[in-house]
Amino acid sequence: MDHEPSRRSFLKLVPLGILAGVFASIGGAAFRFLRPKLSAATDSWLDVAPVAELTGPQPLSRKIAAEQIAGWAINIEEHNVFVLPAKDHQVLSPVCPHEGCEVAWDQGSNRFACPCHESFFAADGARISGPAPRGLDRLPMRVQNGKLQVQYVTKEQATQA
């Protein structure tokens, strides 16, 4: 008998099974293929400026350049940082700990303001008001040969630490 029901319904599964096999083998490779590559942690010290040039009562905005390797690409990423000359040259990340927008220094009201959701921070980075869970993150800093150097820390790294 060529057409008994159980054999026919089994035969219907054969094509689906083969298709599933094809996709499973490509799917397994696809998972490994798409898995994100974490870039190696860089603990390199980045130059900010000579300490002698960083003076005054106000927080100073400075740019640092960090080499970033993302997959096939090398890119030099520029970050803003705030140096506090009045506070032993502590360095603040400008990234708001709420959702990651960059805060700006508002000289008139003497505070940092986040442009996104109205978080405010005092001149030393402490949280004043708004949805931010904490003050601005402090970056590891040191003075080497008269030059201020920092390590750049992302908001996620600072949150985990």
Partner: protein, 432 residues
């Protein structure tokens, strides 16, 4: 019981299953490659190298896409022949038209896809596409400009070919396949025999790709002038035919004639003398493709100079595969900040020696071997005539003037005077 002849007929119909599975593989692997590939002349080769060397399963998936396109071309042609044998142009017009359109679309996908890695092969493939367009009767100059997107091959050309390859052609294939599937019922599509044939072909392809890597030549920027390009297997017939066809005739053979032939085949259901027309066309196509492909293999094998050059290129590609991947600067500013290209490694070797020479001549100048090619040691080379450090600088610029043969090549467009001097001064210090 079925008669044996019916059995063979049933299995012949499984070509649709094979074509279906191979099309799915092309879509799946193509989508995956798009997660890393960048269609720009300064990043395409880097991103493809990254897929080949760094990303897990990248070489296998790219190989599936590369050889899958060649196998698909073969099976979509066999599928057209089997549709002819089963007189689908009478019995199932949609199936016939879809089969013929797929043949054209698969070849178009292959043609545009060859340009994307932007290696030496891609560059020549693009040049030939340019030539075929330019040679078209009446519309030639205009067709060329429209293909290139400007007056010369540029990154815009690569963007165009990429858009055609990943958006336009797959959309057409999808539309055609959906048209076919809407005319069929589920039982007609999920035939066990078709699925088994498709599954077996996929298994063979998967194993093939574990063994053979998709080729990737030197990037266009680093292309040696003596590079000999060869197209993929599905275009060897065209490549070989173009050897015999001057100027505009090539465009007729490569574009006009295939266009006319496909149009006639698509319109076949409404023509008279169907069996004679389609039989002649498919028969001549089959004989021509087989004869020309065989001829191209034979001529490459029988010409010692070409065979030698192809062996050298294969050795270079092997060597390239063994080099580890170096990330590329994404912007010019980054590249300039990083271009500290002199200085030496802890072992005393100049950095540029490690980058360009060590692969063949050994990290410490001890020489080496790659397949049948031997590379002489550099230790004690300064005891030979015409091998002072100044001579080595001259030799790096023009190896032939110093009696050297390929694979040694000129580095004058890759090393600065200072870098060559650095290499020369280090090599003469190598003693036993």
């Amino acid at each position: 019981m079925t008669r044996p002849s019916e059995n063979i007929r049933d299995w012949l119909e499984a070509t649709s299953g094979i074509v279906g599975v191979l099309l799915l593989v092309q879509v799946a692997t193509g989508v995956l490659l798009a997660f890393y590939y960048v269609p720009s002349v300064d990043h395409a080769h880097t991103t493809v190298s990254y897929i080949e060397k760094v990303v897990s399963s990248g070489a296998w998936l790219r190989s599936l896409h590369h050889y899958g396109s060649q196998w698909l071309s073969l099976f979509v042609f066999l599928h057209a022949i089997r549709l002819f044998l089963t007189r689908a142009y009478v019995a199932n017009k949609v199936q016939w038209i879809v089969g013929i359109l797929l043949l054209g679309l698969v070849m178009a996908a292959g043609g545009t896809g060859y340009s994307l890695p932007w290696d030496a092969r891609a560059f020549f493939s693009t040049r030939i596409a340019e030539g075929l367009m330019a040679g078209l009767p009446f519309v030639g100059p205009m067709a060329r400009l429209w293909l290139l997107g400007g007056s010369d091959i540029s990154t815009i050309t690569l963007s165009r070919l990429s858009a055609l390859h990943v958006l336009v052609i797959p959309a057409c294939v999808g539309a055609v396949v959906v048209w076919r599937l809407f005319r069929a019922n589920v039982a007609e599509i999920l035939v066990p025999r078709h699925a088994i044939a498709g599954g077996v072909v996929f298994l063979l392809l998967a194993l093939w790709c574990l063994k053979y890597r998709a080729p990737l030549g030197p990037s266009v920027a680093a292309m040696p002038i003596d590079y000999v390009p060869r197209p993929g297997a599905q275009f060897l017939w065209l490549y070989q035919s173009l050897k015999f066809l001057p100027g505009g005739l090539g465009s007729v053979a490569g574009v006009v004639l295939p266009g006319i032939v496909l149009t006639i085949l698509v319109l076949l259901p409404w023509l008279k003398r169907q069996r004679l027309i389609a039989g002649t066309i498919l028969g001549v196509m089959g004989v021509l493709v087989v004869a020309m492909t065989t001829a191209s293999y034979l001529s490459d094998r029988n010409d010692p100079q070409t065979a030698r050059q192809l062996a050298i290129q294969a050795a270079h590609e092997d060597a390239w595969r063994r080099e580890s991947f170096t990330p590329a600067p994404i912007t010019l500013a980054t590249a300039m900040a990083m271009s500290v290209e002199t200085g030496s490694a802890p072992g005393g070797q100049p950095n540029m020696y490690i980058k360009f020479c060590a692969e063949c001549h050994g990290l410490n100048g001890e020489g080496g071997q790659l397949g049948r090619l031997r590379f002489p040691p550099l230790i004690d080379v300064s005891t030979k005539p015409r091998r002072t450090s100044d001579d080595i600088v001259g030799l790096l610029k023009d190896p032939e003037a110093y009696g050297l043969q390929p694979p040694m090549r000129s580095f004058s467009n890759r090393l600065t005077e200072e870098q060559m001097k650095e290499i020369g001064e280090w090599i003469v210090t190598l003693k036993k």
